[in-house]
């Protein structure tokens, strides 16, 4: 890798976003690259929006991705993708979990849930959009909670890291009794997309 790769992982508190971004940064570190990741803890844990920036490359300065420079958004929830599209650079790719989490504001009729998220992203950002049924694939792997690993598997198709590094990092960083199901989830996510 000659330049820095910018990834934004978005979703809702409790979906395993921080774990996923941690694994990604560790994969880059394992591959001998510099890596930085940034997110905010605190308020965001209570069911609010969560975003993590991950930057990988020979030398990384800012832990935050600059607007207009993001190569990939990996979104764990449909509507959360829209919040970050101004970070995308031309020709960027967007992987979205096919999942809608309806916030209380919609039930209270203070707001409405956006329609046609994929179409909006294609039109407004000119990005390639891929939808992954991560929850179903995670159930297929054996545990619905591995949806974040499924999505990492899909993301791995866009990154230049060897499979053995992914497998090593996942194995070293998840609970011992969940290594197998996580690896299965990772491969289901990786094999689902044809990019």
């Amino acid at each position: 890798m000659n330049s820095v790769l910018n990834v934004i992982i978005s979703g809702v508190g409790g979906q395993g976003i921080l774990t996923a971004s941690e694994l990604l940064a560790k994969v880059a570190m394992e591959a001998g690259l510099d890596a930085k990741k940034s997110e905010v803890h605190g308020m965001s844990q209570r069911g609010g929006s969560v975003v993590s920036h991950v930057r990988l490359g020979p030398k990384v300065y800012s832990p935050l991705v600059e607007k207009g420079s993001c190569d990939v958004i990996l979104s764990f929830e449909k509507a959360e993708t829209l919040r970050w599209i101004h970070y995308l650079k031309p020709g960027a790719k967007v992987i979205i979990n096919d999942l809608e989490i309806i916030p209380v504001t919609v039930s209270l009729k203070l707001d409405s849930y956006p329609k046609d998220v994929e179409k909006i992203i294609r039109e407004r950002a000119g990005a390639d959009v891929f939808l992954v049924p991560a929850t179903e694939l995670a159930k297929e792997a054996g545990d619905a909670r591995t949806a974040n690993t499924v999505l990492l598997g899909s993301l791995s198709l866009l990154l230049p890291f060897e499979m053995r590094i992914w497998e090593k990092v996942i194995s070293e960083n998840v609970k011992k009794d969940t290594i197998e199901v996580n690896l299965k989830a990772f491969h289901l996510g990786r094999n689902y997309l044809k990019i």
Binding site: E39, R124, A125
Partner: protein, 581 residues
Amino acid sequence: MGQKSLLSGNEAIARGAWEAGVKVATAYPGTPSTEILENIAKYPEIYAEWSTNEKVAFEVAFGAAIAGARSITSMKHVGLNVAADPLFTSSYTGINAGFVIVTCDDPGMHSSQNEQDNRRYAKFAKLPLVEPSDSQEAKDFIKEAFKISEMFDTPVLFRMTTRLSHSKTIVELGEREEVPLKDYVKDFRKYVILPSNAKVRHYIVEDRLKKLREFANTTWLNRIEKGDPSLGIVTSGISYQYAKEVFPNATFLKLGMSFPFPAELFAEFVSMVEKIIVIEENEPFLEEEIKILGYTAVEGKKYIPICDELSPEVVRKGVLGEELPHPEPLKSVLRPPVFCAGCPHTGIFYNLWRLKATVTGDIGCYTLGALPPYESIDTTICMGAGITNAFGFELARGKEFSKKLFGVIGDSTFLHTGIPGLIDIVYNRGITKIIILDNRITAMTGHQDHPGTGRTAKGEPTKSLDIKEIVKACGVSKVYEVDPHDLRGTREIMKEVMELDEPAVIISKRPCALLPEERKKQAQRPKRKVNPEICRGEKCMGCIKLGCPAISLKDGKSFISDLLCVGCDLCIQVCPFGAIS
């Protein structure tokens, strides 16, 4: 080469403290500082405690430093306000063994009530200021901060910001250096700060500041990075990273010890470059130091905003007046943080909303009671003010008004700074009513123990304070304990105390729904279900108004998510038609 690890700035500080031979560490939890002590507590060589509040934390660690042990205290930026009293005087007495105060500021106010720039405290208290710009520096600079502390007989202020504390970057680890206890020698003129001694100490402080000014020119914490001479950038902390991102080829004066300002190093820098700008977050702290030296052509805040946090795009736009091409930002659905499913606070705020009470709030998860659907909180200022603000309302608007007035405060917050306020109400003949939300943990910052939980920061069993007995000892004779998930029972007690002509305290007792023991209980309970035949849905909205994240409207009827429901029965209690079971 040592082992490499991906660490947050806070984890790196913990590691640095361990490597520096620290023996005593104290803190009160507060975002973004909390993980420092959480991680220090894992090292068996270091005593670590959650203190009652930041002033206590400061004084305990400082006492240990006077007595000869390298000590560290950490807190969020507004926490240092609570500890400001000992901060200023510790500057006069100086230390014995090294003493470092970590302040974690929150530019952008991701989880804070203001954006104060605590670099100003260094100048105000006449202390050296150290600012790292990534996790590696956080670890290495902490070790150097202890050396500076001992070299100059001074506490050192170590300033982090949210993006440093919570970003993870690669760190090369080192080993622990065991630093033996320093001898303790009683020294009346140094540590007993009577006016006659303080007068002498002030001269010593001024002299120390002069020496630190000299030191700032030569310390390795400050460096010039030679580059293109057409642009010189002065910067420190996380701003350095943003500036490097946008101007990788410029010449940099990168300050790791940013107060006292290194005047001679700056003069050298001036001779190397054609134009200088200062890139710093929030206050024009460095810019003012430079202008005081007479360099009036140097600009900073002309380009870089004071408000909100910096980012590469803010730096680029500020200095170059341009942005990278990017899609127009879009709004997505509002997704504010909410009370978790089964949260004890839901019951209290639902009732406060029903009673249309005036509520002065405090700092914690329950601050969310100010947001829809409850919108029940009138004020939130700082730790402890839930109680004292309420009494102020009573004094301004009279006893009749104050019958529909509640001050609301959490358990950890009550012990932090709530007790003096409650005593104030009793002592000054008030009738203000207080609700203490006792969820058995410091929840907002991610479950830290406190004097009421029966466990220390190290996980050891300890005495558990009885809040009811404390309230009684403050002189309140009307004390009630309620289960906030008994909606009607709680409301009846609220109505009862509203009629009282004396102060009263309601203690809402139910543990945070995210605690492991609670989760075990939840797993045993059935998930709640809505019978769509009976539910009136949009026409009723009874359960929706609970604000439970597990409940939403689906095809015009209420729907409870299996994934989120924890099997509490609040929705059953509020449904007027018996549609939920």
